[in-house]
Amino acid sequence: MALDKQRFDTLILGAGGAGLNAALQLANANLKVAVVSKVFPTRSHTVAAQGGVNAALANVLPDNWHWHMFDTVKGSDYLGDQDAIEYMCREAIPTVYELEHNGVPFSRLPNGKIYQRAFGGQSQNFGGDQAARTCAAADRTGHAILHTLYQQNIRAKTHFYDEYFAVDLIKDEEGVVLGALVLNIATGEPLLIESKTTLLATGGCGQVFRTTSNAHINTGDGMAMALRAGLPLMDMEFFQFHPTGIAGKGMLITEGVRGEGGYLINKDGERFMEKYAPNAKDLASRDVVARSIVTEVREGRGCGPDGDHVMLKVDHLGEDVIAKRLPGIRESSKIFAGVDPVQDPIPVFPTAHYVMGGIPTDRFGRVMPTASDDGDPLPGLYAAGECACASVHGANRLGGNSLLDILVFGRLAGHNIIEYVKQNSAHRPLSDDSVAQSVDRLERWDVKGEGITVSELRKEFRKTMEDHAGVFRVEDMMADGVEKVKAIRDKLKDVRLTDHSATFNTNRTEALELENLIDVGLSIAVSALHRKESRGAHSRPDFPKREDGEWMKHTLYWKEGDKLEYKGVRSQPLTVESFPPKERVY
């Protein structure tokens, strides 16, 4: 196969908030930057973020980065690295101001300062009164950020490869990453992009689970590319589930519905949360509600012909309250669940929302290839955003902290790349082997004939993940799940495309995504099986306690041999005292 080649100083895979903020730093420093995105940049998943981004600006209530840091460490259930968290909370402030200067239309106070709203998990004075820390641009924060960063990148002459699919990282003999093989979705032609540095910013992987709030593009491609390049993924067992997604579809039904008096019932009409959380009932914390729903379903009290969901009842609130206080819910339920909540309950099930784990990096976005804490980063490879794990969310992410994570670490990775390129100004020779391997992977899909379809295997895989590595995690079930997912991975070789055309072949793109999903899925299933404690989003009824003695450590998973290693949490911040682990009560 003859390959076209292009050369850049730096290649960025992904055009969400992380990728675009990195690109902008680099293009402004006059580096030759390529950004590759499988969809048009402003259609990246960052657009879905409405809530906002946290920074201790103290515009509405007293605040400082140290309080923000405390909340984040506590929220992480003490699995977050405190040096990285300190860094993020301090950098939040210049990062938000830089966005403001670049033109993000943040909502404002009458005095002209950026408006800040209160969100769960935020406190003043280390666990005291509610703080107001979240900066928003009306209810379109993600869109406003993406749009502004995209325009600024166009101005700064960033080169965009829109609708190109990144297939694999290319390495040389010494394992140094030198760019990526990408596929032009419109023509089906591959292209080799050579670069001195590469940044993975491909976002999350919610599509691993059957029910998810994530868009279809969130298939963990960059994470799987890292795995195939021999790199580990860190803390993949920590996946945040929102308790009420529309059953079988995944769209979020906000917590506000239960806040206004909506409640959950099983097939017998029983208000089951009274059993699991006699005081807080339907307003218990997310993980408790999610696990209760799954328990009802598993014990045969689920609703619907397959008994696979429960119901959220709101009709008793009356049409006026629903219209006034819960706008959007009625429309969403009608369209996606086919029920009018004014009359009928909404079918719901926990929906996979956010992955805390990812490609391990230090706080400069450099990828860390080993479990050794003082080991060297991999030269030339960076990761930022939801695909990365700088370990700021630990076992549980706080609302408004993930936009922050992508923007801060995108920006800092950009700064670090500028330094790296100054010191490594020449392109290194490519390895033919590495190129050939990924071309082979692409060409494998040209094989014609009978076989399993992509959509069949994807369906089986996502359901298996939901049943065996989702909210409800007990030993036998999970062990069984790992074997099942491995069997699914073996079946990949029997998958055949139903469409072999070259242009806009969604069937082929989805096949490549399926390979990625399965690799990432196994990292979740295997990591979860082996963590024998409950911490943050990872909760195991068979090991219900957090075990700080044994488990204050990060999981690292490698694809080769499905191997696991562990490395200690970095509990020492940069300039302040460490926050020692405490029981997490709110």
Binding site: H45, E163, H216, I217, I335, T506
Partner: protein, 86 residues
């Protein structure tokens, strides 16, 4: 201008229906598969134009219940909303 080839290129449109919001993925894809081919050319052009709008605007129209000013656009949006995805 949207040419004839673009109108017929369902494969391309299918990829354009990949959005940053799950709601739009589900709704636009379903509409494309179920109804697009039967639409009069004029409406097909509107659909292609719709796909060029930012996600929050399409969301406000197709899910949030806001109405576009243009009558024909509003008609298209109404049929997208009525697509069976449940």
């Amino acid at each position: 201008m949207i040419d004839e080839g673009e109108l017929k290129n369902l494969d391309r449109l299918r990829w354009q229906c990949r959005r940053g919001m799950l709601e739009l993925d589900v709704l636009l894809e379903a509409f494309l598969e179920q109804h697009y081919s039967e639409l009069p050319t004029r409406m097909q052009r509107h659909f292609i134009q719709l796909l060029e709008f930012p996600d929050p605007i399409i969301h406000a129209w197709c899910v949030g219940g806001e109405k576009p000013d243009d009558e024909e656009f509003a008609e298209l949006v109404a049929s997208i909303r009525a697509t069976s995805v449940a």
